[in-house]
């Protein structure tokens, strides 16, 4: 067993760190917390100013996300390690939020992983709900950027699993950045343990959850992200979420109301009795509503693309490459600006390192190597 040395930190043993009580933050004194941006089950996000950047006219604003409770629950620690690794793996894509710095604190109640990220004005949820004026160009550009970011993620054999407008940041000039890789995971078969390949189905925020996650016990893959992209795409037209379900089953009902009852072959592909029971008579049978009846402004091309993103049948659902290839995006597409990741994401640590102390060691190592890399030195591993 690896014994982890905690160094017996006290709040004052970490040099130059200060406490921000409102959010239980314990951070380097170079950062001055401005305000709390959000709180969730994962932790807290604050905005801060980096006082080390001496520029009176343009203060360097950043966002600090503290992932808490990671040292008590294995699953949360595993996710934190995963998230950190993924953020490092995806460094430097314009549609993925970039990590500036990282810190790790063991002292309670400040304990957790502190991720320092670029601060971006809005998130897509706020933009959609506000009275910002859209045009087809806005929607096209947003969808295109989302797909570019997702292409990069999928090319590393990673699924995000929690795409939703709230997890897409948006600058004033309309540049989108995907963030929050807390639920993302690698699916590259070469890193999967041979016997067990079960991954949890309880992912994604309900309204953006693909039907196979609810109905099927089988393993899922990249199409779950494409479903979520479709939901966001539709939301850009409707300016409100498309399927607002109150619970898992109600979510399916909401989907049926729009897509209609799925054909039998699609049901059989889910491979679960639950699916049969849910769709077959005497349950009410629904007819699909054409997209142009739902959204007034939608063009035929957009409706066609939407139809191939939000569909029951996983094999019919477009992959990210196919979606990028769709005629709807032709006018703004730049095929020379759709990079892929060089190598798949290596998540083999998940097979070997499973205990809390093991994972702590990994996290500490990750933080250290990130800091070396950040200073511009090459790591010789």
């Amino acid at each position: 067993m690896v014994v982890y040395n905690e160094n017996h930190e006290t709040p004052f043993s970490k040099k130059g760190h200060v406490i921000y009580e409102k959010a239980n933050f314990f951070i380097d004194s170079r950062y001055e917390i401005q305000r709390i941006l959000g709180k969730g089950s994962y932790g807290t996000v604050c905005s801060a100013i980096d006082k080390k950047v001496k520029d009176s006219t343009r203060p360097s604003e950043i966002a600090i996300k503290k992932v808490s409770n990671i040292f008590t629950k294995e699953v949360l620690l595993k996710r934190a390690v995963r998230e950190l690794r993924l953020m490092r793996h995806f460094k430097g894509h314009k549609n993925i939020v970039s990590l500036i710095d990282i810190d790790i604190v063991y002292i309670k109640p400040f304990d957790g992983l502190y991720c320092f990220q670029e601060l971006i004005e809005y998130d897509l949820a706020r933009v959609i709900q506000s009275s910002v004026q859209f045009s087809e160009f806005h929607i096209k550009s947003f969808l295109y950027q989302l797909l570019c970011g997702l292409k990069y993620i999928h090319s590393a054999e990673v699924i995000h699993r929690d795409l939703k407008p709230g997890n897409v940041l948006c600058t004033m000039q309309g540049i989108l950045k995907i963030c929050d890789f807390g639920l993302a995971r690698g699916i590259c078969p070469s890193y999967l343990r041979k016997s067990t390949s079960i991954i949890t189905n309880y992912v994604a925020t309900r309204w953006y959850r693909a039907p196979e996650l609810i109905l099927s016990k089988r393993s899922y893959s990249k199409p779950v992200d494409m479903w979520a992209i479709g939901c966001i795409f539709a939301e850009l037209y409707g300016r409100r979420p498309l399927f607002i379900g109150n619970d898992q089953l109600n979510q399916i009902t909401e989907i049926i109301k729009v897509l209609g009852t799925p054909p039998e072959e699609a049901i059989s592909k889910y491979g679960s009795r639950m699916a049969w029971e849910f769709f077959s008579p005497p349950k009410p049978q629904y007819q699909a509503i054409p997209w142009c009846d739902i959204y007034a402004h939608i063009s035929n091309e957009a409706a066609d693309l939407l139809e191939h993103l939000i569909c029951w049948d996983i094999s019919r659902r477009y992959s990210v490459e196919k979606a990028l290839d769709h005629s709807f995006l032709k006018s703004i597409r730049d095929t020379n600006n759709e990079p892929s990741c060089k190598q798949p994401f290596d998540f083999s640590f998940e097979n070997t390192e499973t205990t809390l102390p093991d994972l702590k060691v990994i996290l500490q190592k990750e933080v250290e190597s990130f800091r070396v890399e950040r200073s511009g030195n090459k790591i010789h591993s």
Binding site: S131, E136, F137, G174, D334, G376
Partner: protein, 416 residues
């Protein structure tokens, strides 16, 4: 169609020599050559002066009394150093200080004249130069520049900052007088030299275009970006990217930032080096741009001009009542949406003032887009044209407001 520009790798290498005397003079005058590593011919008098200074600063501190150093003193000290025999590798016998040409003679005159004050050796500068390792030969120094970024320069840039887009006044004056004395290339070269604002970025991964790269650049307002693109089969690769900031200080900030591990594009560390000379490069020359007076450009930059223009439609024509879908109530909320907006039209209209990097949808209550040019002059020209009441652009976009946005690069570099 992407214009293919031949990559003149040789040109880049030799640029520091070709760029004329001004830069060399300036550097030697400021005594920061220790921080430079330049390919040197060893033939020119200027280069030999440079080389001569490196060992002196790093090793011999004795001669650093604050005194006026004329060219003769330099020469004397130089011959002395040759006798002691340790700098022969850098400056072979052939490059003994002799005035080989008229040009050199002028340089000497110049050095012993007005700029001689700045030749005084400052203790702090020596301290700074000590930080750089002593390197025995040029090749190793070049290598070191790649690895340790010794190429960062410590030029005092305070004068330039005040007047972006303009060369040092003093030097322009001098080159004018030189031109009257010796008409020819020499003086013109001197005007073009502006070593502190332009750099060249190399080492981009495949399928990464200019707008992807631009998102990661910080420091300040960019004056222009010029990509050199090559085709590799189906793929298009940005080979080099010339990047020029409006302010030398910003350029330096970014240069230092680029050496940290924070400047990464799609997992690749991008190499950045100074171009040395600042030859005016432009993708597609728009004749109208040259008609803009430099004083006008300068004044526009001072009031916040940048490559990014924002246009916003003032009238809000929203077809709320007319267009409603059958299931409108269930699946839609009324929010402003513009049906009759053609981005291609905007692109066409605005690209006549210069090539556009990209157009992005701006977040605003009214229809609003942001146009990013390659060159700040294009934005200045387009805005000027839009504001000229007789222009076609003004007539077509009469119900649109136009202003300079914020250059995405206009943010401070992240500190380590």
């Amino acid at each position: 169609m992407l214009t293919q520009i031949t990559v003149l790798e040789g040109e880049n290498q030799s640029a520091p020599q070709n760029c004329g005397t001004q830069e060399n003079k300036k550097n030697s005058a400021l005594g920061t050559i220790g921080a430079k590593a330049r390919p040197s011919s060893g033939h020119s008098r200027k280069a030999s002066l440079n080389n001569f200074w490196i060992p002196r600063e790093t090793n011999v501190v004795k001669v650093t009394k604050p005194e006026k150093l004329g060219i003769r003193k330099l020469a004397k000290a130089y011959t002395r150093s040759l006798v002691s025999g340790w700098s022969t590798e850098i400056a072979p016998q052939g490059s003994l200080p002799k005035c080989k040409s008229l040009e050199d003679a002028v340089v000497n005159e110049f050095l012993s004249g007005r700029e001689v004050k700045s030749l005084r050796i400052d203790d702090s500068k020596i301290e700074a130069s000590k930080a750089f390792p002593k390197l025995p030969n040029i090749d190793q120094r070049m290598l070191a520049e790649e690895q340790n970024s010794i190429g960062s320069r410590n030029i005092n840039l305070s004068n330039r900052d005040k007047k972006p887009l303009e060369d040092n006044k003093n030097i322009v004056n001098i080159s004018q007088t030189l031109e009257t004395l010796f008409p020819g290339n020499f003086a013109k070269k001197a005007i073009q030299v502006d070593p502190g604002r332009e750099m060249i970025l190399t080492g981009f991964p495949k399928n990464v275009n200019v707008n992807s790269i631009l998102g990661f650049i910080a420091g300040g307002v960019i004056e222009r970006i010029v990509p050199e693109i090559v085709k590799e089969g189906k793929d298009i690769v940005v080979n080099n990217l010339y990047l020029c900031f409006t302010k030398a200080k910003d350029a330096e900030d970014f240069f230092n930032f680029s050496k940290t591990g924070l400047f990464v594009v799609c997992g690749e560390n991008i190499k950045v080096r100074w171009t040395g000379s600042c030859k005016y490069r432009y993708c597609n020359e728009i004749p109208k741009i040259n008609e803009l007076s430099s004083s006008f450009i300068e004044s526009e930059v001072n009031i916040g001009a940048c490559r990014c223009l924002i246009i916003k439609k003032l009238t809000n024509r929203c077809q709320k009542s007319k267009q409603r879908s059958a299931y409108y109530r269930n699946y839609g909320i009324s929010r402003p949406y513009c049906d009759d907006f053609d981005i291609k039209e905007v692109e066409k209209d605005f690209s006549q003032y210069g090539e556009i990097v990209e157009i992005t949808p701006a977040i605003s209550r009214k229809l609003c887009v942001s146009i990013h040019y390659y060159d700040i002059r294009s934005a200045i020209l387009a805005k000027k044209e839009k504001e000229t009441t007789t222009s076609k652009l003004h007539a077509k976009y009469s119900d649109w407001a136009i202003w300079y946005g914020k250059d995405p690069a206009d943010k401070p570099c992240i500190a380590l």
